[in-house]
């Protein structure tokens, strides 16, 4: 009774309102409702005709309040005929309209036609409207074994402020299993398709409710909230991180969940659940990860080719009706594919929405994190979005990176279009962070050096401090003594070498010259040694080392003498033209002593070294 009453009411309104309306007539309306996923898409082809005399350039589309609330996307395009898809898509501007004297329960949109319609002219265009949450599960609660049934309601007649001459409606269902449907005249079923119409000459504002109750086990994946963070690094990477809060939006599950049943016959005992989601990532996506608050989720598969990267993710558990999950996926993209430059400005050109297939997003927040130091930021989005700016502090940032935040509610895959963020960024700013790191390390090493060399003790007059300083001086002196001794030793070695040369060449003069040079050098060295020794003798803290040092000096002197003696003997021998054997015999004894002495000196040197 009520419904008839309402139709009547509507008709009255229509009649009352019609004079105010233009004289447009819809000569043909062809509507197709796709219920093959949980996102409802209504695609209509309309032919509009101007029956009046005035020129018309706008066509009104009416949606009942219920549908308007769920409408996520609306687009109108000129009808291309059969060979469509070739030409670049021209989009007819659509805007919300609020014409006077219309029923309040209806929401209107007006489509601007490319050219005004003169009297008698007609124009054909397509309208695609996408609705979310338009399917209602009935029953609302099902058990694990039940199949999920959903109800869709609409009108068999196209609800329009204009009279419709010919119209038809087809409803495409995912499956041929139909629980129930409204049967009107001219209703036909072809497999999984229900056809209403054609109906002719329906007045404006006519409404004939239909309901279809059918089986649908498609994933009702709804993201309550999705936060996408797109971070640009000018070092060559665009990092995308997506935080999902997902729910199965179908019929609530109730009663037991039996893993046994689910494992044994997943398609029967768990038909309404979905176990995986597919995301089509852009090509060359790399470093993909999939995790949630408590760690990695190890069930995902990645396939990639040059066209796209397909990521298949399984939530931790099968998603039954009403079950929730939350997870994060992240991936890196090559910068060259998404960042471009024009007029001295850089711009990011990337898709707006989630790469998930057939996902409804209730609230989508896109954050574009630009490099630190970006200025003049502006956004170009293909549809209206809420927009504001934030800053984010990431690695090595001083005052944070500018973040552009875009928010949109009720998002469907149709929204996955490219949007642009324009900004200025100086190439030099790129070097800021590496330089910071380098200078950090530099100062660290400088600090180490300063620490090693600076005297940072608090009391400069304490006994231990003074003793330590004295000891350091002593050490330095001993170092010098060691140096001198080792130079003496090298001189000895040179002398020995000259002797060997002598035995080979017989050049006595050269040998004598070497001897002279060595003598001079050794004298100098002993002169240098003297003040050092006196210092050591005077210094109290050198008391324990002193005997060893003195012993070393004495031994070295002895060694020096022995070497000289040997040298003179050998040279003498050559001068007297003695045989090599003879000379060797003479020197043999000295040589033994020399070796022993040398050994002692080396030992002493080593000992002093260890102190």
């Amino acid at each position: 009774m009520e419904s008839f009453g309402f139709c009547f009411l509507m008709l009255t309104i229509a009649i009352l309102a019609s004079p105010a309306l233009s004289d447009l007539v819809l000569s043909k309306v062809d509507r197709r409702i796709y219920l093959t996923s949980h996102i409802v898409r209504i695609s209509s082809t309309m032919k509009v005709e101007n029956a009046g005399s005035e020129k018309e350039s706008k066509v009104l589309l009416a949606f009942p309040e219920q549908q308007a609330k769920n409408m996520a996307y609306l687009i109108a395009t000129p009808h291309e005929g059969k060979g469509k898809g070739k030409n670049p898509v021209v989009v007819l501007p659509v805007e919300a309209a609020n014409p006077k004297d219309m029923p309040a329960a209806l929401t209107f949109y007006s489509v601007s036609l490319p050219k005004g319609l003169a009297e008698g002219d007609s124009f054909t265009f397509d309208v695609l409207a996408v609705f979310t949450h338009a399917l209602r599960p009935i029953p609302e609660q099902i058990t694990q074994a039940d199949i999920q049934l959903v109800l869709y309601q609409d009108s068999a007649h196209y609800l329009s402020p204009y009279a419709v001459k010919v119209q038809s409606l087809s409803v495409k269902l995912p499956d041929s299993r139909i629980e129930s449907y409204t049967k009107l005249e001219n209703t036909k079923i072809h497999g999984s398709e229900i056809k209403y119409g054609p109906y002719e000459n329906i007045p404006s504002f006519s409404y004939s409710p239909i309901a279809v109750h059918f089986e649908s086990n498609l994933p009702f994946a709804v993201a309550h909230e999705l936060v996408r963070e797109i971070e640009i690094s000018h070092w060559g990477n665009v990092q995308v991180t997506e935080h999902y809060k997902l729910i199965h939006g179908g019929a609530q599950s109730k009663g037991e969940f039996s893993r046994l049943d689910f494992q044994a016959r997943p398609n029967v005992r768990g038909a309404s659940a979905f176990r995986y989601l597919v995301a089509n990532l852009p090509p060359r996506a790399h470093s993909v990860y999939y995790r949630d608050e408590i760690g990695n989720i190890s069930t995902s598969h990645l396939r990639g080719d040059s066209k796209k990267t397909e990521l298949l993710i399984e939530p931790r558990y099968p998603m039954f009706g009403g079950w929730r999950t939350a997870f994060t996926i992240g991936y890196g993209l090559p910068l060259l594919d998404f960042l471009f430059e024009s007029d001295g400005k850089r711009f990011l050109n990337i898709t707006f929405s989630s790469p998930m297939v057939e996902l409804v997003i209730d609230a989508l927040i896109v954050k574009v994190v630009l490099p630190e130091g970006s200025t003049d930021i502006s956004v170009a989005a293909p549809f209206p979005v809420e927009q504001w700016q934030e800053t984010k502090i990431s690695h090595l940032d001083i005052d944070g990176r500018p973040v552009v935040v875009l928010k949109k509610t009720n998002v469907v895959p149709e929204h996955n279009q490219f949007f642009q963020v324009y900004y200025h960024f100086s190439q030099l700013s790129m070097l800021r962070e590496p330089l910071m790191l380098i200078s950090g390390f530099f100062f660290f090493f400088v600090a180490c050096i300063v620490y090693m060399h600076a005297d940072i003790s608090i009391s400069k007059s304490s006994a231990s401090y003074l003793a330590k300083q004295q000891w350091e001086e002593v050490q330095a002196v001993i170092q010098q003594v060691q140096n001198i001794i080792s130079r003496c030793l090298t001189t000895h070695d040179n002398l020995e070498a000259s002797l060997r040369d002598l035995s080979r060449t017989g050049n006595i003069q050269a040998c004598k010259a070497a001897r002279k040079a060595a003598d001079g050098l050794l004298k100098e060295l002993s002169k240098e040694l003297k003040p050092l020794l006196t210092f050591l003798q005077s210094s109290p803290s050198a008391a324990q080392v002193l005997p060893k040092v003195e012993e070393l000096v004495a031994k070295e002197r002895e060694l020096q003498e022995k070497v000289m003696v040997k040298h003179s003997t050998v040279v003498d021998g050559y001068e007297k033209k003695l045989g090599a054997r003879d000379i060797e015999n003479r020197v043999a004894l000295q040589q033994q002593k020399l070796t022993a002495l040398r050994q002692e000196v080396d030992d002493l040197l080593e000992f002093i070294d260890e102190i």
């Binding site: 629980e179 409204t182 049967k183 760690g295 190890s298 502090i393 090595l396 070294d609």
Partner: protein
């Protein structure tokens, strides 16, 4: 070609460092390498699995750290956690050692300040390896202090990879011990340094080290008892000195005052029996000092002897009386059970089952000593020998530390950790001393060789020439052989440590990994699956009952309230849960309802063969439950003292709640090819009760490998059978005919309830237009016309498959009977 090496050698000479500098360079670079090695060897778990928190307790620490980062220190200090120990709750701030969390947050803040945008989880995961690296440094300095820098280096290397320490400090093992071993060794090192130098600054540092240790781990009791014991030994052996006096008094007084600032410790330093030794030794020190002074003043030795006798007797008597009075008046609490169980390994088994039930509290087997120490086990006595050969204040300390901690390591598996630094240090002394002796032997011969060619590389010919001069021809060969032997052993040690770390100690135990049939790695991530399910799909305030082992994980990962958790402070509460698990279902449901439980979680390994599940832990639940509630008797669950789950099991066992929850519907499950259904792979038997029926609980979730099973507690049955659970709400919709109100609040379609209408439908079919039946109509009443029809269609289809009725006619008749009108002809699908 000939000139090149010459110029190169000149260049080298100009760069050539002095021996001292060379040594410093080598030492510092070795230390740096050891520091890095200690860190990266603990990252196996991150590479094998992921950057995650391991085990049980670390999850609590992680949760509290999160709380600390989010709410700040004061909130943390005053935190009352109502998510655990429901309905009692837990005063977290007053019942934990905050050192670990504060340290992690501090590191986190510093990193943030330095502009490293790290997550607190990463900091927590890497805290233990970081502190292990620091421990190697402390070990180096400690070794240097007690022996020489060579021993210090070896100690650093040994402790860097010692499995005994790695077991508690791999990445992700975010537990108190990870920080505490550092604090322990640091306190000891600084204290020994203070004793060696008598410096006030070092003893101050040791007091602060002690404070850090107290803030980090309950193991500080070891320090507070070892140090007085050490001092006592020094006093007895006549090594009393002013240095000792300064070091001990400063450390004790300041350390005690600082430790009182930790709420969990409070006044225990003056009130608990476990802390009395340190106070006694403190007074003894004063008596010693006093006597020293008197001795100094009195020249007469006889008089002094008499005085000594009187003073010592008086002091001991006064001390004894004070202690006795304190004990009797209850001011000084007696030793706790935990302390007793350390001294007497059999104590816990008889008196505190809850301690005995933990696997890491069991006495240590020889194999695990071998596993955790490897060659150190043999080097330890050798090191003790060297220590005794060169007794000093420092070596006495390390000997005492080594011997006492070895005893404790024998009592409890987990205390191997405390013994590890001592074992490493003492072994390092052995290694260092041996290698040094051998190389000295080798070098003394090489010198002869060097005289021949000072600069050039001593060829093999010259060395063989030198060999001929040897008086003891086999000494060098022997030394070389021994050196090679030592290096072989050390390299075996390194291999063993790496293997143990990668295979045994790097598993997070939250994620289980196994090898599949083809050698591929299979991951069982069931724990997190279940916890995440709890987190997402249960009401925010749901209470989960499980055995206490999983309490921390459920609160941290599942974010739900638990009844009991790993902080086993209330034995009665745990016993209540144990009792519920070991009772029959209808008895258990009383307990479950009284505890307000919504979900029951059990861990079950029958499908995967995971052996540490609840069935294997069940006897402990019975014991702990029976310890408080005598109605639970262990023999009821055993058959001839044998624990079984198959047909021969005790009837009480087969019907207790735990058994039912674990094996619910398991009897239908085929686990292994060629075995009957219901074959339990963890225990290798076919279960005894395959027909498990649950009355008050229903399966809510089971993970994919059945490891975790969660049951929902059903609400109690309504007294009045006519009241349906979800009553039909009467609501007449808006006027809009397409049923727009459907999406708003409206009557609920419940096809099951509409079953009443079925008879009617049959009736209608037979007798057209017969009397309308009220119950059916009252059900439809709440629904809008169209929805009523939809609902009816569902009901009809769901229930009368096979009965052919003309649905469209019946439906319209029915609706007409209920005085309902459908807008259009409505058709139930074919």
């Amino acid at each position: 070609m000939a000139t090149m090496p010459a110029s190169a050698s000149d260049l080298l000479k100009s760069f050539k460092l002095k021996t001292k500098q060379q040594e410093l360079l080598i030492r510092v670079s070795i230390l740096c390498l050891v520091y890095i090695l200690a860190f990266i060897t603990r990252l196996f778990s991150v590479l094998r699995y992921e950057s995650m928190i391991h085990e049980f307790d670390p999850y609590f620490n992680y949760r509290t750290t999160l709380y600390l980062t989010e709410n700040g220190f004061y909130d943390f200090w005053n935190w009352f956690d109502y998510e655990s120990w429901y309905p009692l709750g837990r005063i977290v701030g007053g019942t934990l050692y905050p050192g670990l969390m504060v340290t992690a947050v501090l590191i986190y803040r510093i990193l943030r300040f330095l502009r490293f945008a790290v997550h607190i989880r990463e900091v927590c995961v890497l805290t233990a390896p970081f502190f292990a690296s620091n421990t190697t440094l402390v070990a180096y300095f400690f070794g240097k202090e007690i022996w020489d820098s060579g021993a210090g280096l070896v100690a650093a290397i040994l402790i860097a990879i010692c499995p005994g320490y790695i077991s508690r400090s791999v990445a992700g093992s975010y537990d108190n011990e990870g920080v505490a071993i550092f604090a322990l060794l640091f306190t000891f090192y600084v204290f020994v340094k203070a004793v060696n130098t008598g410096s006030l600054a070092w003893s101050l540092a040791s007091a602060f080290g002690y404070f850090y240790m107290v803030s980090a781990w309950g193991g500080y009791v070891f320090i507070i008892n070892l140090i007085p014991l050490y001092v006592l030994v020094l006093l007895i052996t006549g090594r009393y000195s002013m240095r000792l006096y300064v070091a001990y008094n400063c450390m004790y007084i300041l350390g005690m005052l600082l430790a009182m600032q930790i709420r969990f410790v409070g006044f225990q330093h003056v009130q608990s029996g476990e802390h009395m030794a340190v106070m006694g030794v403190f007074f003894l020190m004063q008596v010693f000092y006093f006597l020293d002074w008197v001795k100094h003043m009195l020249s007469d030795t006889k008089l002094f002897q008499a005085f000594l006798r009187i003073t010592v007797t008086c002091a001991v008597a006064v001390g004894g009386i004070a202690l006795g009075l304190g004990m009797v008046s209850g001011y000084i609490s007696p030793w706790t059970g935990r302390f007793y169980s350390l001294l007497d390994p059999t104590y816990a088994k008889d008196h505190i089952p809850i301690i005995a039930s933990v696997s890491e509290h069991q006495p240590t087997a020889w194999s695990s000593f071998m596993f955790d120490f490897h060659i150190l086990l043999f080097l330890f006595p050798a090191g003790l020998y060297f220590c005794f050969k060169r007794l000093s204040d420092a070596t006495i300390f390390i000997v005492m530390y080594g011997l006492t901690s070895m005893y404790f390591a024998g009592v409890m598996v987990r205390l191997i950790l405390v013994a590890t630094p001592a074992v490493c240090l003492i072994s390092a002394i052995a290694v260092s001393a041996t290698v040094k002796n051998l190389t000295v032997l080798l070098r003394s011969k090489n010198k002869v060789v060097q005289t021949g060619s000072t600069k050039g590389s001593g060829g093999s010919k010259s060395s063989s020439k030198a060999l001929l001069d040897q008086s003891q021809p086999f000494q060098k060969n022997g030394a070389i052989a021994l050196l090679f032997g030592a290096f072989y052993l050390l390299s075996r040690y390194a291999t063993h440590c790496t293997w143990v770390t990668s295979e045994a100690y790097s598993s997070p135990s939250i994620v289980l990994a196994a090898r599949g049939a083809h050698g591929n790695r299979v991951i069982f991530d069931d724990y997190r699956e279940a916890y995440f399910w709890l987190r997402q799909n249960t009401p925010q305030d749901a209470k989960v009952m499980s055995w206490w082992d999983y309490g921390y994980q459920i609160t941290a990962m599942g974010n739900r309230t638990v009844i009991v958790d790993n902080n086993t402070w209330n034995n009665t509460h745990i016993a209540t849960v144990g009792r519920a698990m070991s009772s029959y279902e209808d008895e258990a449901i009383e307990i479950i309802r009284s505890l307000d439980v919504d979900y029951v979680l059990v861990v079950f390994g029958g499908v995967t063969g995971y052996s540490s599940d609840d069935i294997n832990k069940f006897l402990w639940m019975v014991r702990i439950g029976g310890g408080v509630f005598p109605v639970i008797k262990e023999p009821d669950y055993l058959v001839n003292g044998e624990y079984r789950v198959d047909k021969g099991a005790a009837p009480k066992m087969l019907n207790c709640l735990m058994y039912k929850l674990c094996y619910y519907r398991f009897g239908e499950m085929l686990t292994e090819y060629g075995k009957p259904p219901g074959y339990d792979r963890a225990r290798g038997v076919e279960i005894g009760n395959k027909d498990v029926k649950l009355e008050h609980l229903e399966e809510a979730f089971t993970t994919s490998n059945w490891i975790v099973r969660i049951y929902r507690v059903k609400p109690p049955n309504n007294r009045c059978p006519h009241n349906v659970e979800t009553p039909v709400v009467t609501h007449l919709g808006d006027v809009f005919p397409n049923g727009s109100n459907i999406h708003g609040q409206s009557g609920t379609c419940n096809p099951q309830n509409l079953g009443v209408c079925l008879d009617l439908l049959g009736l209608v079919d037979v007798n057209l237009g017969n009397a309308p039946t009220k119950p059916c109509c009252s059900l439809i009443e709440g629904l809008v016309d169209l929805e009523g029809a939809v609902c009816l269609c569902t009901a009809v289809r769901a229930n009368v498959l096979g009965i052919h009725i003309n649905l469209s006619i019946s439906l319209s008749l029915l609706l007409r009977n209920c005085e309902r009108k459908v807008a259009t002809e409505y058709i139930c699908g074919p």
